[in-house]
Symmetry: C2
């Protein structure tokens, strides 16, 4: 007899499970239930409707129920909410949201892919009609109509994660003349990036006209403005709540399925819940992080598809390998491309993993190429093993490329020694002869091997304020265009003749533009007997990026005479 597979949720995970099951078994009866009116829409492209990049919201819907039926012989029931799992009978209770009728359907195997819900804090005014969330096509359509209704001069987006940032960006990029404010309760947007790296994104948001507020939370929604925890008010005739998502576990919980420590549905190696006939995949489940060896949640499309395939395979006895997750993501924010994989510093600290990192700012491609730009790259590795833990890249250039390579190396358990030997594609239009990845590994190995020491850009203000001895080894003209207020300028080209000026009895901190020349200076000085030298990792480019945003918003004293980002 043919199998009856029911699937709750018809977007990424659900649709992928259905399609895979169909390919394995032409005779299975496969039914997807979706509460909303659409199956298989492009979740990730929703915000792009606001800018008009995707003009017609219908385009966001990738497959209709008819297409599922015709192409895959899969039945997709939209406007159909699964309200109960009757595990004893192996049935589900479905509510047809149009007729309001309820009915039961029997399953041999049930797959839960209900996704996650936007979190809306129950603050004053949270349920006003001008408060929006962005979860599906209906939501984005509603928001888009509202901002185009003429009622909105100011909008506040609450939450600086992927969705919040993309919504803010797309509103700002649109032809609408609306003031966009982005409010984030933490001290930074975009958690997949560390505080040092994220300053580039802060800068980009601000420079492109978004009113960015970090370290402040929403406290109250009024008709014409919002009130923040700090007491500050921000004009807003529309509010988008994008604080985060909560896995949709109600159905699972009520059916007595186990919920994990992270709040996601608990699943085993095969994405089976504690019921041997019920699988769960996608944003609603918790997964295993192979780097921290702990459970986590990961709301990403790629892993959801992999889980879906594995679940469908398991239904048919096809084994699979569960390698755990590392979390790779990327985002385009105006002209900046940003990508991250594996552990951030924060995450490594939280997991109690001993780590160190390098932060380099090489060219993305050869400097003679017209499109060349700076490329900010941070590589995090385990100490003392040199095992690669994570990477973050931000720039106008090819960030996702470098981070994808690191993701592959993490997957394979690679170390700095492996990174160093990677043969990556080089042509002047695509990279540099010494690829940024090789470059980062060489710097990291030098540090790991004790060839030189470094201090991060995050410590420079402290150094400046405590009047540390800092040498800027750039050439005089570069120094004059902008420098640390108390750095002494001894260009690399003069350093060998001016060593008498450099003290041996105090720590000496060196930097140049991107750390390449200061590294050479340190090697020379160490050879000449200096043993208390530190390279400022990221050097002047890194210092400027790091200080800029906070200087803008705090009005504190600048530690550089002029910013220079090139």
């Amino acid at each position: 007899m043919s199998k009856r597979i029911l699937i709750v949720g018809g977007v990424a995970g659900g649709a992928s499970t259905a399609a895979r099951a169909r390919r394995i078994d032409e005779f299975a009866e496969i039914i997807m239930f979706e509460r909303g009116p659409h199956v298989s829409f492009s979740n990730c492209c929703l915000p792009n409707h606001l800018s008009g990049m995707i003009e017609n919201s219908d385009d966001l819907v990738l497959m209709s129920p008819e297409q599922f039926k015709n192409q895959y012989n899969i039945e997709a029931r939209v406007n159909s909410e699964v309200i109960k799992i009757n595990r004893d009978k192996k049935t589900i209770t479905v509510k047809d949201l149009q007729s309001n009728k309820e009915y039961e359907e029997a399953y041999d195997k049930l797959v839960l892919s209900p996704g996650a819900n936007p979190i809306v804090p129950k603050i004053d005014g949270y349920n006003k009609s001008h408060v929006f969330t962005v979860r599906n096509v209906i939501d984005i359509d509603k928001l888009n109509r509202y901002v185009r209704s003429g009622k909105v001069k100011d909008i506040a987006v609450i939450g600086g994660g992927f969705i919040g940032v993309e919504v803010a960006e797309n509103l700002q990029l649109s032809d609408l003349d609306i003031n966009v404010t982005l409010v984030e309760a933490a001290d930074q947007i975009m958690a997949p990036f560390d505080y040092d790296m994220v300053q580039l994104l802060h800068k980009e948001m601000m420079e492109k006209g978004v009113n960015l507020i970090v370290g402040d939370a929403i406290a109250k929604v009024e008709d014409e403005h919002i009130e923040l925890a700090s007491g500050k008010t921000v004009p807003a005739q529309a509010v988008v709540m994008a604080i985060g998502v909560r896995p949709e576990t109600t159905l699972a919980k009520e059916a007595g399925l186990e919920i994990g420590e992270t709040g996601g549905i608990k699943v085993d190696h095969n994405y089976l819940t504690n019921d041997k006939d019920i699988y769960a995949v996608g944003d609603a489940i918790e997964v295993y992080n192979k780097l921290t060896h702990s459970k986590t949640r990961l709301a990403l499309a790629g892993p959801a598809q992999r889980q879906a395939r594995a679940a469908a395979d398991h239904i048919y006895g096809i084994p699979h390998r569960n390698t755990g997750v590392i979390g790779s993501s990327c985002v385009k924010i105006f002209d900046m491309n940003a990508a991250s994989t594996g552990l951030t510093e924060k995450a490594a600290q939280k997991a109690g993993i001993q780590y160190d990192f390098v932060y380099i700012i090489p060219g993305d491609i050869v400097g003679l190429m017209p499109e060349n730009s700076q490329f900010h790259f941070k590589l995090i590795y385990e100490v003392p093993t040199g095992k690669i833990l994570g990477a973050q890249a931000i720039g106008k250039g090819n960030a996702s490329k470098r981070v994808d390579v690191i993701a592959a190396m993490i997957m394979m358990g690679g170390t700095l020694e492996d990174l160093k030997e990677l043969e990556l594609c080089y042509a002047p239009a695509f990279s540099t002869a010494k690829d940024p990845i090789n470059h980062a590994s060489l710097v990291a190995l030098n540090i790991l091997n004790g060839r030189f020491r470094q201090v991060p850009v995050t410590k420079v203000r402290e150094l400046v304020e405590s009047n540390a001895y800092i040498i800027d080894v750039r050439e005089v003209d570069e120094y004059e265009e902008g420098h640390l207020i108390n750095a002494i300028n001894i260009p690399l080209s003069e350093i060998r003749n001016r060593i008498s000026e450099i003290p041996k009895d105090v720590p000496v901190y060196l930097h140049c533009r991107s750390s390449q020349r200061s590294y050479n200076a340190i090697m020379a000085l160490q050879n000449m007997g200096y043993d208390n030298l530190y390279n400022i990792s990221g050097s002047f480019l890194g210092i400027c990026c790091y200080e800029y945003f906070n200087d803008q918003v705090s009005g504190r004293d600048k530690i550089v005479t002029e910013y220079n980002f090139n």
Copy 2:
């Protein structure tokens, strides 16, 4: 006493060795000898001077001897040819090319980085003054002046490797009104790509106006034209010889240093020649290919830098790991980005390695994004192990990214199973939720696991000519826009109702646009008892690309009613 390190050759390998040695040892005496007037110029950017992208040829020179002196305390002697190595005395004989004086310099360690010379076949007229090669800044300057002298209406570039293709492209992109012909003796340009993949590059060259001639060699140079082996004549008032390069080994040979089987200088693990005080690095040496387990030559900048570093390290007793090479390269040809790593099919065949491959044509990024384009990707793997051997990518999108990931996986000994689990960065602007790399590995695993069989696009003409039973499962409107002349159109959406039309007694070949729908059709039909089905790998997009170029140049019968490349 301080070490005396002499270096022959002052470009990539030489300059890198010198800089690394200086960082290790501030007190070494380091002298680089360069025959030409420039050290450290951007080899790879030379052709870009022709298009004007790099307007001033002086910009191609990255560091002057003065800068080497000031910044690194390295002496760079230009116009200085090393004409003899006196191994018994541990000296070299240097000829000052300006004064014509000869003198000796003693070394503790000698590093040879002489590079490779353009091959110029000694055909009739090869030494005429309008025959050029492109090896250095002087060469490109000379060529550029000549093509801008008004004497040149037509130019012939001989050789379809990196340099030939880039020279042809840059001439075509320039503001010059010159007819550019590219002549290649083999049946294809760009050896790092297989014949199926390279058709996209052939098409691009032709469409952008280059007169591309493959399978024909230069036989004679006349003042106003060249003559080819076929007897054909091509108008040309200037000829660029870019057939290939030959490692510069004269100096090494005369000194009794061993030359390897490939014609490059033989070196050991540490880039030492058979003289314990003489190293050799860069284009002049032979290296070990870790995939074929054989010696090879590899004229690439990245490996040269790595060798330079290893040689300098070894001088100072710092051990390194020699992982062998795989060869990763990329090139931009007009609007096409192309990248390749590891073994091609050709190379795997030559090495006697059992392999199979997949050729997929997914979207580079999400189809809703304005910049989306087709992405041609070929993945080569060992049979039966699934070990990854190589990849080639061509498209308007991010080719080097995907190939870099494969290069990393090859470095780590990864298999298809590993590729499948890779977590790569996804956002609609950068990739697709099912990344092309994951996608390729899934197709490959299906084939390796015997879930379905495929035939390559290279076999389709044969199938058509032998009247094989071919089903095109695209929708009717797609079929009508262009299809294989004898394909039967049974859309995927109708296939379950029309199985009675499909024969069981003959092999049936299926295709759609990119193979996704035909794969689903095959799975359905196999489930219904069909066991003689083949997916046409690459499907209609692949067929069109494969056939197009040959159709254009041969005038043979078309096997499609209309080409469709989108």
